[in-house]
Amino acid sequence: MAIEGLARIVREQKMFAGLNEGFIELAAGCAKNVRFDADGYLFRTGEAADWLYLVRGGRVALEVVTPGRGAVQFLSLGAGEVVGISWLLPPFRWGYDARAVEPVRAVAMDARCLRDKCEADHDLGYAVLKRFLPVLVERLQATRLQMLDVYGAPR
């Protein structure tokens, strides 16, 4: 797909809403459209975090495989949400599996490409960081609530 078409798709993503056109073009230069069949993996634990995904449709499960229990899902993500934060900071490695639980359409962004552009243009880097940090904070807060196990019987 031409960069122009990708720029439109990137612009429509909530994560990049409000970025100026120059930034959108730069970000779109790192992007491509991808699809995953149900039960296909976007990435697996321990792999290099070289891509991040902006979900356009379908549902992705984040999960950890534990001995005796198999895969345990701890978060699901759908349209408009980003899969993958670990690409932002060293060691750039995934700490969980991301699996499509139904057919998924997404914009995949080359993380190294985006990191290089953010490094070369700190204004872009700051704009991108301001969009990804709230995701990190929201997921951290949600994880705290999950850890409280509030639905369990009072002890």
Partner: protein, 285 residues
Amino acid sequence: MALPAEPAAPDGDPLLPRVARVLRRTRELPDTVTLELATADGSPFPAYRPGEFTMLYVFGVGEIPVSISGDPADRMRLVQTIRAVGPVSSALSRLSAGDVLGIRGPYGTAWPVAAAEGRDVLLMAGGLGLAPLRPAIYQLLANRQKFGRLELMYGTRSPDEILFLHQIENWRRRLDFDVEVTVDHAGGTWRRNVGVVTRLIPRMSVNPRDAIAMVCGPEVMMRYGAIALHDAGMPESGIWMALERNMKCAVGLCGHCQFAGSFACKDGSVMRYDTVRDMLALREI
């Protein structure tokens, strides 16, 4: 257990229980049952509003508050859902058809179903908190044309701990009721939402600026749920929640359920968020 010979409590004495009989016990979850009750003399139960509770008394064991989870239109059968966590709730959970127990009430404030007419309605429930909201759902669905969009967000611990599972599946099939379920964690075969219930808010179908929200679940969940709803554009005055404290007398006399300047039993348990918001953060309450 044989039916006691005592007469029903005289009208007007709120501290004397009446005798009720268990018609049926349904196991909902490993630690949760639903009891269907009838009065011992076959008369109807007093009318109640969604959100109200009763005091259930297991003879010789004790008395606890229990939310009503049935249809307010059915006054011959009172439905209450109980999780076994202490001696009384465990004894209630062991009752079966034909057993008798004492009952007082109904007590407390109600979900603002009538006030929601003409508006969108969001029901946010967590875990066992779906039970006190179910009477409101019955009323909303029985008068569906009087309301705008209707949505249920239900969060629970895992797919195995979804309360009223078959009923939720039936609700999901309705075109006029948006139902979303999310769990804190799940195995690999689960294909629906995973995550805390507040993560459903950005995708809600109701218009937050003109909706009424009824929120019921663990207090931590309600606190963060109300904040997230307000952040999404819902006025604090449109958010209602059910607060529980240590209710004993249920009529505002004993003070066990004091909640700052209020009593949870008679000023609640359903309260408007903007009237309790500041107290929710106080550790002393």
